[in-house]
Amino acid sequence: MIEVAQLRKEYGDLVAVGGVSFTAETGAIFGLLGPNGAGKTTTIGCISGLLEPTAGTVRVRGHDVVREGTRAKASLGVVPQEIALYEDLSAGENVRFWGQAYGLGGSKLRARMTDVLEITGLLDRADDRVDQFSGGMKRRLNFACGIVHEPQVLLLDEPTVGVDPQSRVRLLDLVREQANQGVCVLYTTHYMEEAQSMCDRLAIIDHGHIIAQGSLEELQAQMGERDLVRVSGSFDENDLRRVFSRDEDVEVVTVDDAQATLSVRQASSKLPTLLAALTRADSEVRDITVSQPSLESLFIKLTGKELRE
């Protein structure tokens, strides 16, 4: 398991991660969901020992990554966001090198090389140089190199970025398989659908802070039965907030001159009332969209912005 407590990473005045805490359990996938620049990769960097935390502690299977770095890292498998492979080596040579980096050798290494190349569908291309591979094949090989030593804790930093749909499905299956085998998986992504479908538990991170965490059900519960209503047009913020201030079923999430976002209980049945209230607030409505409760709507509710912004 991974235990992160009050993790903080600063670069001068810039706070990349500001007091993050979470626990990822064995045999489960813990998702770290957040937009680009939220602090996901920095958190992964601190857990993998690549970065030294400014404050806080990170433990991997009980070993502090700063004080017992070698022990902690020995049980870690890291699949970095960028494809970290030797393009001038073959797939087999890459897997062999990274296996040796984790102390494997001899027949065990050979057996593991065959296993991981087979499960990633690259066994028949084992002798081909990586620079002849497609992006999806490189992603799969990147994953193979991360699991060749059978890690008990697996860190996956946005492993599906830029991957074709077929390879993506295959990769996600592989990740799920790892968790089923008892591996503790920490999975970062900015794809909401991926997080929803893959993760047993989730933490939503923004600006270096975790703004919500729990199981998918727990997070959705934070939204209650509320839908997210996005209205385009022209608005006066004060009038809008005044109109909805006494309505417990409506909460103004964000509002600017051209767009308002409202959190509304059972929005579909309240649309006529909503439109009437907007008219009373001297708003001009050009478009209206209703979204069911989701991680994205929760993210918008919590941060006032969309996940992909």
Partner: protein, 411 residues
């Protein structure tokens, strides 16, 4: 240890798949060395040329004059060819010879009678060295002829003036009188000639050293030029490790960054070992350069190359980008090569510059290599030097490791 070996093997495989780079690193110094070698005397053959002689006198003395060019060292430089005057002029105009010596009729008579006479030498204006040699040696021959006439004029006159009898035989009485005359002259001059009263002693700096061997002088410099180029080229790989993410991935493994770095240095050192080994074999057995202590030279050069590589890697790590790194290392190797005797041998530099250059890392190592080649570096001294180099490598690796962990891998 396993990871160290894995890193070495990994880098060697990668290098094997990029032979062009290896060829460039070794080819450039070879090309530069070859050009300098050719430009400054790599050709062992001395100057040579052809002297055309238009002998219109056809006497014993005129034959003696041209014969002077067909004996001793001059014969190795100058090939004499007797031609008719007209042909001689045509061939000189066509640039086919270095000079045309014209001996007009009456030469012998004039010499014997001590009368002024003129012989002509036409030089090829397109050539400088050989016509100069011909002219200088001709003036010596003419001078010698004058003294010969002074000493042996009388008997020579007898020889030239004697008419053979019907059987084309010089009378015995004439031969006997000429012999006696020669003998008396030699007896009179013996105190001055045997032994000569003036002795000429020729010495050259360096006592009993062998003659100037340009190849031997430039060969070690060429080796170090190759090492510098290789060190620069190999050091760039640290940027490749960073840009392709493998450096960060290594840091995330339980292995030490230092092991990874040393593995890379060892791989580089092994390539240098092979290149320098081939260079030494070629130098000694293909080009016949006199080199001593080849195994020691190989070990020393490899260690020195590893030190240069570690230094270049450190320079790369302090650069803000790969481009800057290449500019910085490029800016470092050219002054090092120039100053450290890798471009021009120390022997070809002004003394003050050479003494400064010997303090550069490659200059210091090159000086040691020259001592090894000359058989002047005891094994103990070599071991001490290797220990010093190893210490410098350790310091460079430590600094590099700190730099990688501190900023390089993350920025």
């Amino acid at each position: 240890m396993r990871f160290l070996l894995a890193t070495v093997v990994k880098d060697l495989i990668r290098r094997r798949r990029d032979p062009i780079a290896l060829l460039l690193w070794t080819g450039i110094p070879l090309a530069i060395g070859g050009l300098i070698f050719l430009a400054f005397g790599g050709d062992d053959a001395g100057p040579s040329g052809r002297l055309l002689v238009a002998d219109q006198d056809h006497t014993v003395l005129s034959a003696l004059l041209t014969g002077a060019y067909q004996q001793g060292p001059l014969a190795e430089i100058i090939e004499v060819e007797v031609v008719e005057l007209e042909e001689g002029h045509e061939r000189i105009d066509a640039g086919e010879a270095s000079g045309l010596l014209i001996i007009p009729e009456g030469f012998s008579a004039a010499v014997l009678e001590s009368e002024p006479f003129e012989i002509s030498l036409v030089r090829n204006p397109a050539q400088r060295i050989v016509p100069g040699i011909i002219e200088e040696s001709l003036s010596l021959v003419v001078e010698s002829t004058f003294y010969l006439q002074r000493l042996f004029g009388e008997p020579l006159d007898v020889i030239v003036g004697t008419q053979p009898d019907d059987a084309n035989v010089v009378p015995d009485s004439t031969v006997a009188s000429v012999s006696v005359a020669f003998d008396q002259i030699v007896d009179r001059t013996r105190p001055y000639l045997f032994p000569p009263v003036i002795e000429l002693e020729t010495t050259s700096p360096g006592g009993d050293e062998e003659g100037f061997d340009f190849a031997r002088l430039f060969f070690p410099s060429m080796l170090f030029m190759a090492l510098l180029f290789m060190a620069q080229g190999l050091s760039e790989d640290i940027w490749r490790e960073r840009s392709q993410g493998t450096l960060r991935r290594v840091i995330a493994t339980p292995q030490r960054v230092a092991t990874f770095l040393v593995g890379k240095l060892l791989a580089g050192a092994m390539l240098m070992l092979v290149v320098i080994g081939l260079g030494l074999i070629a130098g000694r057995w293909v080009f016949g350069i006199e080199l001593h202590g080849l195994p020691m030279a190989l070990v020393w050069t490899t260690f020195a190359g590893m030190m240069l590589l570690a230094m270049m890697v450190l320079v790369q790590l302090f650069a803000s980008s790969e481009r800057t790194g290449n500019i910085l290392t490029g800016a470092a190797i050219f002054p090092l090569a120039m100053l450290g005797g890798s471009f021009f041998p120390f022997e070809a530099m002004p003394d003050w510059l050479a003494s400064v250059g010997r303090y550069t890392p490659n200059g210091w190592a090159l000086t040691k290599l020259n001592q090894v080649f000359a058989g002047e570096l005891p094994a103990l001294d070599l071991l001490q030097s290797i220990a010093a180099v190893a210490l410098v490598i350790v310091v460079f690796v430590w600094l590099s490791m700190r730099r990688i962990r501190g900023r390089f891998a993350h920025s």
